[in-house]
Assembly symmetry: C2
Homo-oligomer: 244 residues x 2
Protein backbone atom coordinates (compact mmCIF):
# COMPACT_ATOMS: atom_id res chain seq x y z
CA UNK A 1 0.00 0.00 0.00
CA UNK A 2 1.34 3.43 -0.91
CA UNK A 3 1.61 6.03 1.84
CA UNK A 4 1.82 9.80 2.16
CA UNK A 5 3.77 11.55 4.90
CA UNK A 6 4.24 15.27 5.52
CA UNK A 7 7.55 16.90 6.49
CA UNK A 8 6.55 20.21 8.06
CA UNK A 9 10.05 21.72 7.84
CA UNK A 10 13.20 21.07 5.77
CA UNK A 11 15.01 20.80 9.13
CA UNK A 12 13.25 17.46 9.69
CA UNK A 13 14.19 15.94 6.32
CA UNK A 14 16.80 13.64 7.92
CA UNK A 15 13.86 11.64 9.36
CA UNK A 16 12.53 10.57 5.97
CA UNK A 17 13.80 7.98 3.51
CA UNK A 18 12.79 9.54 0.20
CA UNK A 19 14.70 7.29 -2.19
CA UNK A 20 11.49 5.60 -3.38
CA UNK A 21 9.17 8.56 -2.97
CA UNK A 22 7.80 11.43 -4.99
CA UNK A 23 8.56 14.60 -3.04
CA UNK A 24 6.11 17.49 -3.48
CA UNK A 25 7.87 20.81 -2.77
CA UNK A 26 5.56 23.40 -1.18
CA UNK A 27 6.30 27.09 -0.60
CA UNK A 28 2.89 28.71 -0.97
CA UNK A 29 4.00 32.27 -0.12
CA UNK A 30 5.34 32.51 -2.69
CA UNK A 31 8.05 30.49 -4.48
CA UNK A 32 6.13 27.45 -5.70
CA UNK A 33 3.09 29.62 -6.53
CA UNK A 34 5.36 31.76 -8.74
CA UNK A 35 6.93 28.72 -10.40
CA UNK A 36 3.55 27.19 -11.25
CA UNK A 37 2.33 30.54 -12.59
CA UNK A 38 5.44 30.84 -14.78
CA UNK A 39 4.91 27.38 -16.31
CA UNK A 40 1.24 28.14 -16.90
CA UNK A 41 2.44 31.16 -18.89
CA UNK A 42 4.94 29.30 -21.05
CA UNK A 43 8.36 29.50 -19.38
CA UNK A 44 10.72 26.93 -20.93
CA UNK A 45 12.46 25.87 -17.73
CA UNK A 46 13.46 27.14 -14.27
CA UNK A 47 16.78 26.46 -12.54
CA UNK A 48 16.39 26.60 -8.74
CA UNK A 49 19.34 28.09 -6.85
CA UNK A 50 19.74 27.85 -3.10
CA UNK A 51 22.64 30.31 -3.40
CA UNK A 52 21.88 33.93 -4.29
CA UNK A 53 25.14 34.74 -6.08
CA UNK A 54 25.11 31.62 -8.27
CA UNK A 55 21.58 32.64 -9.25
CA UNK A 56 22.72 36.16 -10.11
CA UNK A 57 25.51 34.77 -12.31
CA UNK A 58 22.95 33.02 -14.56
CA UNK A 59 22.04 36.40 -16.08
CA UNK A 60 25.16 36.13 -18.28
CA UNK A 61 23.79 32.87 -19.70
CA UNK A 62 20.55 34.48 -20.83
CA UNK A 63 18.44 33.66 -17.81
CA UNK A 64 15.82 35.90 -16.23
CA UNK A 65 17.00 36.24 -12.60
CA UNK A 66 14.22 35.87 -10.03
CA UNK A 67 13.62 35.53 -6.36
CA UNK A 68 13.66 37.08 -2.93
CA UNK A 69 15.37 37.18 0.40
CA UNK A 70 13.26 37.76 3.51
CA UNK A 71 10.22 38.41 1.33
CA UNK A 72 11.76 41.20 -0.71
CA UNK A 73 13.05 41.31 -4.31
CA UNK A 74 16.83 41.03 -4.62
CA UNK A 75 18.70 44.13 -5.84
CA UNK A 76 19.55 43.83 -9.53
CA UNK A 77 17.29 40.82 -10.16
CA UNK A 78 14.75 40.94 -13.02
CA UNK A 79 11.77 39.64 -11.07
CA UNK A 80 10.73 39.27 -7.43
CA UNK A 81 8.41 36.83 -5.71
CA UNK A 82 4.93 37.96 -6.80
CA UNK A 83 3.05 35.47 -9.02
CA UNK A 84 1.69 38.39 -11.05
CA UNK A 85 5.23 39.07 -12.32
CA UNK A 86 5.23 35.64 -13.95
CA UNK A 87 2.16 36.17 -16.16
CA UNK A 88 4.03 38.07 -18.87
CA UNK A 89 7.51 38.14 -20.38
CA UNK A 90 8.23 34.52 -19.54
CA UNK A 91 6.96 32.58 -22.61
CA UNK A 92 9.82 30.59 -24.16
CA UNK A 93 12.29 32.08 -21.71
CA UNK A 94 14.34 30.46 -18.95
CA UNK A 95 14.49 31.58 -15.32
CA UNK A 96 17.07 31.26 -12.53
CA UNK A 97 15.13 31.34 -9.25
CA UNK A 98 16.23 31.66 -5.63
CA UNK A 99 14.15 32.13 -2.47
CA UNK A 100 14.65 32.08 1.28
CA UNK A 101 13.04 28.70 1.79
CA UNK A 102 11.67 27.12 -1.40
CA UNK A 103 14.85 26.40 -3.31
CA UNK A 104 16.54 25.16 -0.14
CA UNK A 105 13.73 22.62 0.18
CA UNK A 106 14.49 21.38 -3.34
CA UNK A 107 18.18 21.06 -2.45
CA UNK A 108 17.28 18.80 0.48
CA UNK A 109 15.17 16.54 -1.77
CA UNK A 110 17.70 15.61 -4.44
CA UNK A 111 17.83 11.94 -3.34
CA UNK A 112 14.13 11.50 -4.14
CA UNK A 113 12.85 9.34 -6.97
CA UNK A 114 10.82 12.25 -8.28
CA UNK A 115 10.51 15.92 -7.32
CA UNK A 116 7.46 17.97 -8.30
CA UNK A 117 6.20 21.47 -7.48
CA UNK A 118 2.94 21.95 -5.57
CA UNK A 119 0.77 24.98 -4.80
CA UNK A 120 -2.93 25.68 -4.37
CA UNK A 121 -2.85 26.96 -7.96
CA UNK A 122 -2.20 23.43 -9.32
CA UNK A 123 -3.57 21.38 -6.39
CA UNK A 124 -5.85 19.02 -8.31
CA UNK A 125 -3.31 18.44 -11.08
CA UNK A 126 -0.67 17.48 -8.52
CA UNK A 127 -3.17 15.12 -6.85
CA UNK A 128 -4.00 13.49 -10.19
CA UNK A 129 -0.29 13.10 -10.97
CA UNK A 130 0.29 11.34 -7.64
CA UNK A 131 -2.79 9.12 -7.97
CA UNK A 132 -1.79 8.04 -11.49
CA UNK A 133 1.81 7.36 -10.39
CA UNK A 134 3.13 4.40 -8.43
CA UNK A 135 5.31 6.05 -5.76
CA UNK A 136 4.66 6.75 -2.11
CA UNK A 137 4.66 10.47 -1.38
CA UNK A 138 6.36 12.97 0.91
CA UNK A 139 4.94 16.49 0.98
CA UNK A 140 7.79 18.82 1.99
CA UNK A 141 6.73 22.16 3.43
CA UNK A 142 9.41 24.81 2.95
CA UNK A 143 8.36 26.63 6.11
CA UNK A 144 10.14 29.78 7.25
CA UNK A 145 13.82 29.46 8.17
CA UNK A 146 13.32 25.97 9.53
CA UNK A 147 10.11 26.65 11.45
CA UNK A 148 6.70 25.44 10.32
CA UNK A 149 4.17 27.80 8.77
CA UNK A 150 0.40 27.70 8.39
CA UNK A 151 0.11 28.19 4.63
CA UNK A 152 2.37 25.27 3.67
CA UNK A 153 0.79 23.08 6.37
CA UNK A 154 -2.78 23.66 5.17
CA UNK A 155 -1.75 23.01 1.57
CA UNK A 156 -0.25 19.70 2.73
CA UNK A 157 -3.59 18.91 4.37
CA UNK A 158 -5.53 19.80 1.22
CA UNK A 159 -3.32 17.49 -0.85
CA UNK A 160 -3.52 14.65 1.71
CA UNK A 161 -7.33 14.89 1.55
CA UNK A 162 -7.27 14.70 -2.28
CA UNK A 163 -5.24 11.46 -2.35
CA UNK A 164 -5.95 9.63 0.92
CA UNK A 165 -8.56 7.32 -0.58
CA UNK A 166 -5.69 5.57 -2.41
CA UNK A 167 -2.51 6.75 -0.68
CA UNK A 168 -2.72 6.26 3.08
CA UNK A 169 -1.59 8.88 5.61
CA UNK A 170 1.49 7.68 7.53
CA UNK A 171 2.18 8.96 11.08
CA UNK A 172 0.51 12.02 12.56
CA UNK A 173 1.76 14.96 10.47
CA UNK A 174 -0.62 14.23 7.53
CA UNK A 175 -3.52 13.95 10.01
CA UNK A 176 -2.60 17.23 11.71
CA UNK A 177 -2.27 18.98 8.34
CA UNK A 178 -5.62 17.61 7.16
CA UNK A 179 -7.33 18.84 10.34
CA UNK A 180 -5.81 22.30 9.82
CA UNK A 181 -7.05 22.41 6.22
CA UNK A 182 -10.55 21.40 7.30
CA UNK A 183 -10.52 24.27 9.82
CA UNK A 184 -9.19 26.75 7.24
CA UNK A 185 -11.00 25.89 4.03
CA UNK A 186 -14.26 27.75 4.69
CA UNK A 187 -12.39 31.05 5.02
CA UNK A 188 -8.80 30.71 3.90
CA UNK A 189 -8.03 34.42 4.00
CA UNK A 190 -9.50 34.79 7.49
CA UNK A 191 -7.67 31.71 8.74
CA UNK A 192 -4.41 33.02 7.35
CA UNK A 193 -4.82 36.56 8.69
CA UNK A 194 -2.99 35.68 11.91
CA UNK A 195 -0.19 33.73 10.26
CA UNK A 196 3.26 35.10 10.88
CA UNK A 197 4.31 35.11 7.22
CA UNK A 198 1.13 36.97 6.27
CA UNK A 199 2.01 39.51 8.95
CA UNK A 200 5.49 39.79 7.43
CA UNK A 201 4.12 40.16 3.90
CA UNK A 202 1.47 42.67 4.97
CA UNK A 203 4.33 44.97 5.79
CA UNK A 204 5.36 44.53 2.14
CA UNK A 205 1.80 45.24 0.96
CA UNK A 206 1.13 42.05 -0.97
CA UNK A 207 -2.45 41.29 0.05
CA UNK A 208 -3.37 40.61 -3.59
CA UNK A 209 -0.55 38.06 -3.90
CA UNK A 210 -1.75 36.22 -0.79
CA UNK A 211 -5.35 35.92 -2.02
CA UNK A 212 -4.08 34.63 -5.38
CA UNK A 213 -1.67 32.11 -3.82
CA UNK A 214 -4.55 30.66 -1.76
CA UNK A 215 -6.76 30.11 -4.86
CA UNK A 216 -7.23 26.48 -5.87
CA UNK A 217 -6.85 25.02 -9.34
CA UNK A 218 -6.10 28.04 -11.48
CA UNK A 219 -3.61 26.02 -13.55
CA UNK A 220 -3.08 22.42 -14.63
CA UNK A 221 0.72 22.28 -14.94
CA UNK A 222 2.84 19.89 -12.82
CA UNK A 223 6.47 21.07 -12.91
CA UNK A 224 9.09 18.40 -12.17
CA UNK A 225 12.88 18.38 -11.76
CA UNK A 226 14.63 16.77 -14.73
CA UNK A 227 18.02 15.04 -15.09
CA UNK A 228 19.87 18.35 -15.26
CA UNK A 229 18.19 19.62 -12.07
CA UNK A 230 16.03 21.97 -14.10
CA UNK A 231 12.32 22.39 -13.47
CA UNK A 232 10.21 21.73 -16.56
CA UNK A 233 6.83 20.47 -17.70
CA UNK A 234 8.30 18.99 -20.90
CA UNK A 235 7.98 15.21 -20.53
CA UNK A 236 10.43 14.56 -23.39
CA UNK A 237 13.27 15.91 -21.19
CA UNK A 238 15.91 13.49 -19.87
CA UNK A 239 14.62 12.27 -16.49
CA UNK A 240 16.68 12.33 -13.30
CA UNK A 241 19.19 9.49 -12.97
CA UNK A 242 17.39 7.72 -10.15
CA UNK A 243 14.01 7.73 -11.81
CA UNK A 244 12.57 4.47 -13.01
CA UNK B 1 6.10 41.46 25.88
CA UNK B 2 6.54 37.79 26.75
CA UNK B 3 5.99 35.24 24.00
CA UNK B 4 5.20 31.54 23.69
CA UNK B 5 6.51 29.37 20.87
CA UNK B 6 5.96 25.66 20.26
CA UNK B 7 8.68 23.24 19.15
CA UNK B 8 6.78 20.30 17.64
CA UNK B 9 9.77 17.94 17.71
CA UNK B 10 13.07 17.73 19.62
CA UNK B 11 14.73 17.53 16.18
CA UNK B 12 13.90 21.24 15.70
CA UNK B 13 15.34 22.43 19.02
CA UNK B 14 18.39 23.98 17.28
CA UNK B 15 16.02 26.68 15.96
CA UNK B 16 15.16 28.05 19.40
CA UNK B 17 17.18 30.19 21.80
CA UNK B 18 15.94 28.91 25.15
CA UNK B 19 18.50 30.60 27.43
CA UNK B 20 15.87 33.07 28.76
CA UNK B 21 12.83 30.80 28.47
CA UNK B 22 10.87 28.37 30.56
CA UNK B 23 10.69 25.11 28.60
CA UNK B 24 7.60 22.96 29.17
CA UNK B 25 8.41 19.30 28.40
CA UNK B 26 5.43 17.42 26.94
CA UNK B 27 5.15 13.67 26.35
CA UNK B 28 1.46 12.99 26.88
CA UNK B 29 1.56 9.26 26.01
CA UNK B 30 2.93 8.66 28.54
CA UNK B 31 6.14 9.91 30.18
CA UNK B 32 5.12 13.34 31.45
CA UNK B 33 1.67 12.02 32.44
CA UNK B 34 3.41 9.36 34.55
CA UNK B 35 5.79 11.88 36.13
CA UNK B 36 2.97 14.23 37.11
CA UNK B 37 0.97 11.29 38.55
CA UNK B 38 4.00 10.18 40.60
CA UNK B 39 4.45 13.65 42.12
CA UNK B 40 0.74 13.87 42.88
CA UNK B 41 1.21 10.63 44.83
CA UNK B 42 4.20 11.77 46.84
CA UNK B 43 7.37 10.69 45.03
CA UNK B 44 10.39 12.55 46.47
CA UNK B 45 12.20 13.15 43.17
CA UNK B 46 12.68 11.67 39.69
CA UNK B 47 15.98 11.48 37.81
CA UNK B 48 15.39 11.45 34.04
CA UNK B 49 17.76 9.25 32.02
CA UNK B 50 18.05 9.39 28.24
CA UNK B 51 20.21 6.26 28.43
CA UNK B 52 18.60 2.96 29.39
CA UNK B 53 21.60 1.33 31.04
CA UNK B 54 22.48 4.34 33.21
CA UNK B 55 18.85 4.28 34.34
CA UNK B 56 19.06 0.58 35.18
CA UNK B 57 22.22 1.17 37.25
CA UNK B 58 20.33 3.52 39.59
CA UNK B 59 18.63 0.48 41.18
CA UNK B 60 21.81 -0.07 43.23
CA UNK B 61 21.40 3.41 44.68
CA UNK B 62 17.91 2.69 45.98
CA UNK B 63 15.94 4.06 43.05
CA UNK B 64 12.78 2.58 41.60
CA UNK B 65 13.65 1.96 37.93
CA UNK B 66 10.95 3.06 35.49
CA UNK B 67 10.29 3.59 31.84
CA UNK B 68 9.77 2.08 28.44
CA UNK B 69 11.25 1.55 25.02
CA UNK B 70 8.90 1.54 22.01
CA UNK B 71 5.89 1.71 24.34
CA UNK B 72 6.76 -1.41 26.34
CA UNK B 73 8.15 -1.86 29.86
CA UNK B 74 11.87 -2.58 30.00
CA UNK B 75 12.94 -6.07 31.16
CA UNK B 76 14.00 -6.01 34.81
CA UNK B 77 12.61 -2.52 35.51
CA UNK B 78 10.28 -1.99 38.48
CA UNK B 79 7.64 0.06 36.66
CA UNK B 80 6.58 0.70 33.08
CA UNK B 81 4.90 3.67 31.43
CA UNK B 82 1.30 3.50 32.69
CA UNK B 83 0.23 6.37 34.97
CA UNK B 84 -1.75 3.89 37.08
CA UNK B 85 1.54 2.31 38.19
CA UNK B 86 2.52 5.61 39.80
CA UNK B 87 -0.47 5.87 42.14
CA UNK B 88 0.95 3.55 44.78
CA UNK B 89 4.36 2.57 46.12
CA UNK B 90 5.97 5.89 45.23
CA UNK B 91 5.38 8.05 48.36
CA UNK B 92 8.71 9.24 49.76
CA UNK B 93 10.61 7.17 47.21
CA UNK B 94 12.88 8.22 44.34
CA UNK B 95 12.57 7.12 40.72
CA UNK B 96 15.01 6.77 37.83
CA UNK B 97 12.97 7.21 34.63
CA UNK B 98 13.78 6.64 30.95
CA UNK B 99 11.50 6.73 27.90
CA UNK B 100 11.82 6.67 24.12
CA UNK B 101 11.13 10.37 23.66
CA UNK B 102 10.36 12.22 26.91
CA UNK B 103 13.70 12.09 28.67
CA UNK B 104 15.51 12.87 25.41
CA UNK B 105 13.46 16.06 25.19
CA UNK B 106 14.66 17.04 28.69
CA UNK B 107 18.27 16.38 27.62
CA UNK B 108 17.85 18.83 24.71
CA UNK B 109 16.51 21.53 27.04
CA UNK B 110 19.32 21.75 29.59
CA UNK B 111 20.33 25.26 28.46
CA UNK B 112 16.92 26.66 29.43
CA UNK B 113 16.40 29.08 32.30
CA UNK B 114 13.72 26.77 33.71
CA UNK B 115 12.42 23.31 32.79
CA UNK B 116 8.99 22.13 33.93
CA UNK B 117 6.84 19.08 33.20
CA UNK B 118 3.48 19.47 31.44
CA UNK B 119 0.57 17.11 30.81
CA UNK B 120 -3.19 17.40 30.54
CA UNK B 121 -3.28 16.12 34.14
CA UNK B 122 -1.69 19.36 35.44
CA UNK B 123 -2.61 21.72 32.56
CA UNK B 124 -4.11 24.58 34.58
CA UNK B 125 -1.38 24.46 37.22
CA UNK B 126 1.29 24.71 34.52
CA UNK B 127 -0.58 27.64 32.94
CA UNK B 128 -0.80 29.42 36.32
CA UNK B 129 2.92 28.84 36.93
CA UNK B 130 3.77 30.40 33.56
CA UNK B 131 1.39 33.33 34.01
CA UNK B 132 2.81 34.09 37.48
CA UNK B 133 6.39 33.84 36.21
CA UNK B 134 8.36 36.36 34.17
CA UNK B 135 9.90 34.23 31.42
CA UNK B 136 8.93 33.72 27.81
CA UNK B 137 7.92 30.13 27.09
CA UNK B 138 8.82 27.28 24.76
CA UNK B 139 6.52 24.26 24.77
CA UNK B 140 8.62 21.28 23.64
CA UNK B 141 6.67 18.34 22.27
CA UNK B 142 8.59 15.08 22.65
CA UNK B 143 6.95 13.62 19.54
CA UNK B 144 7.80 10.14 18.34
CA UNK B 145 11.39 9.46 17.27
CA UNK B 146 11.75 12.98 15.90
CA UNK B 147 8.39 13.17 14.14
CA UNK B 148 5.47 15.23 15.42
CA UNK B 149 2.48 13.60 17.09
CA UNK B 150 -1.11 14.67 17.64
CA UNK B 151 -1.33 14.24 21.41
CA UNK B 152 1.63 16.47 22.26
CA UNK B 153 0.57 19.02 19.61
CA UNK B 154 -2.98 19.37 20.98
CA UNK B 155 -1.64 19.70 24.52
CA UNK B 156 0.60 22.53 23.27
CA UNK B 157 -2.48 24.16 21.78
CA UNK B 158 -4.44 23.79 25.03
CA UNK B 159 -1.62 25.44 26.97
CA UNK B 160 -1.20 28.25 24.41
CA UNK B 161 -4.92 29.01 24.76
CA UNK B 162 -4.63 29.15 28.57
CA UNK B 163 -1.84 31.75 28.53
CA UNK B 164 -2.19 33.72 25.28
CA UNK B 165 -4.04 36.62 26.89
CA UNK B 166 -0.73 37.57 28.57
CA UNK B 167 1.96 35.59 26.72
CA UNK B 168 1.71 36.13 22.95
CA UNK B 169 1.99 33.33 20.38
CA UNK B 170 5.18 33.71 18.33
CA UNK B 171 5.37 32.33 14.77
CA UNK B 172 2.87 29.80 13.38
CA UNK B 173 3.43 26.64 15.43
CA UNK B 174 1.44 27.93 18.46
CA UNK B 175 -1.41 28.98 16.13
CA UNK B 176 -1.44 25.58 14.40
CA UNK B 177 -1.41 23.78 17.77
CA UNK B 178 -4.24 25.98 19.09
CA UNK B 179 -6.37 25.25 16.00
CA UNK B 180 -5.76 21.51 16.47
CA UNK B 181 -6.82 21.70 20.12
CA UNK B 182 -9.99 23.59 19.19
CA UNK B 183 -10.83 20.82 16.70
CA UNK B 184 -10.05 18.08 19.23
CA UNK B 185 -11.45 19.34 22.50
CA UNK B 186 -15.09 18.40 22.01
CA UNK B 187 -14.17 14.74 21.61
CA UNK B 188 -10.56 14.12 22.56
CA UNK B 189 -10.79 10.34 22.45
CA UNK B 190 -12.47 10.37 19.04
CA UNK B 191 -9.95 12.89 17.69
CA UNK B 192 -7.08 10.78 18.94
CA UNK B 193 -8.46 7.48 17.64
CA UNK B 194 -6.63 7.84 14.33
CA UNK B 195 -3.33 9.01 15.84
CA UNK B 196 -0.39 6.78 15.09
CA UNK B 197 0.78 6.48 18.69
CA UNK B 198 -2.72 5.51 19.80
CA UNK B 199 -2.66 2.83 17.11
CA UNK B 200 0.70 1.65 18.47
CA UNK B 201 -0.55 1.64 22.07
CA UNK B 202 -3.80 -0.07 21.15
CA UNK B 203 -1.69 -3.06 20.23
CA UNK B 204 -0.40 -2.91 23.81
CA UNK B 205 -3.98 -2.69 25.16
CA UNK B 206 -3.71 0.57 27.08
CA UNK B 207 -7.02 2.23 26.21
CA UNK B 208 -7.57 3.10 29.87
CA UNK B 209 -4.17 4.84 30.03
CA UNK B 210 -4.98 6.94 26.97
CA UNK B 211 -8.32 8.15 28.36
CA UNK B 212 -6.60 9.05 31.65
CA UNK B 213 -3.69 10.88 29.97
CA UNK B 214 -6.19 13.04 28.02
CA UNK B 215 -8.02 14.11 31.23
CA UNK B 216 -7.49 17.73 32.23
CA UNK B 217 -6.58 19.03 35.69
CA UNK B 218 -6.56 15.90 37.80
CA UNK B 219 -3.53 17.20 39.74
CA UNK B 220 -2.05 20.54 40.78
CA UNK B 221 1.69 19.69 40.90
CA UNK B 222 4.25 21.45 38.68
CA UNK B 223 7.45 19.35 38.61
CA UNK B 224 10.63 21.26 37.73
CA UNK B 225 14.27 20.30 37.14
CA UNK B 226 16.52 21.38 40.01
CA UNK B 227 20.25 22.17 40.21
CA UNK B 228 21.18 18.48 40.33
CA UNK B 229 19.09 17.72 37.22
CA UNK B 230 16.49 16.02 39.37
CA UNK B 231 12.77 16.57 38.91
CA UNK B 232 11.06 17.74 42.08
CA UNK B 233 8.17 19.83 43.38
CA UNK B 234 10.13 20.84 46.50
CA UNK B 235 10.80 24.58 46.13
CA UNK B 236 13.46 24.53 48.87
CA UNK B 237 15.74 22.50 46.56
CA UNK B 238 18.86 24.13 45.08
CA UNK B 239 17.77 25.70 41.78
CA UNK B 240 19.57 25.15 38.49
CA UNK B 241 22.73 27.23 38.04
CA UNK B 242 21.33 29.42 35.29
CA UNK B 243 18.13 30.31 37.06
CA UNK B 244 17.63 33.83 38.28
Amino acid sequence: MRTVDVCLSPDMMHLYDISERTVVIVDILRATSCMVTAFAHGVDHIVPHANLESCRAMKAEGYITSGERNGEKVDGFDKGNSPFEYMQGVKGNKIAFTTTNGTQAIDKSLRAREIIIGSFLNLSSVAQHLLHGSNSVLILCAGWKGKINLEDSIFAGALVNKIRSQILPECDAPLAAAHLYETAKGDMTGFMASASHVQRLRRLDVTKDIAFCLSEDKYDVVPFLDGRNQLTIDKTRVPRGNWQ
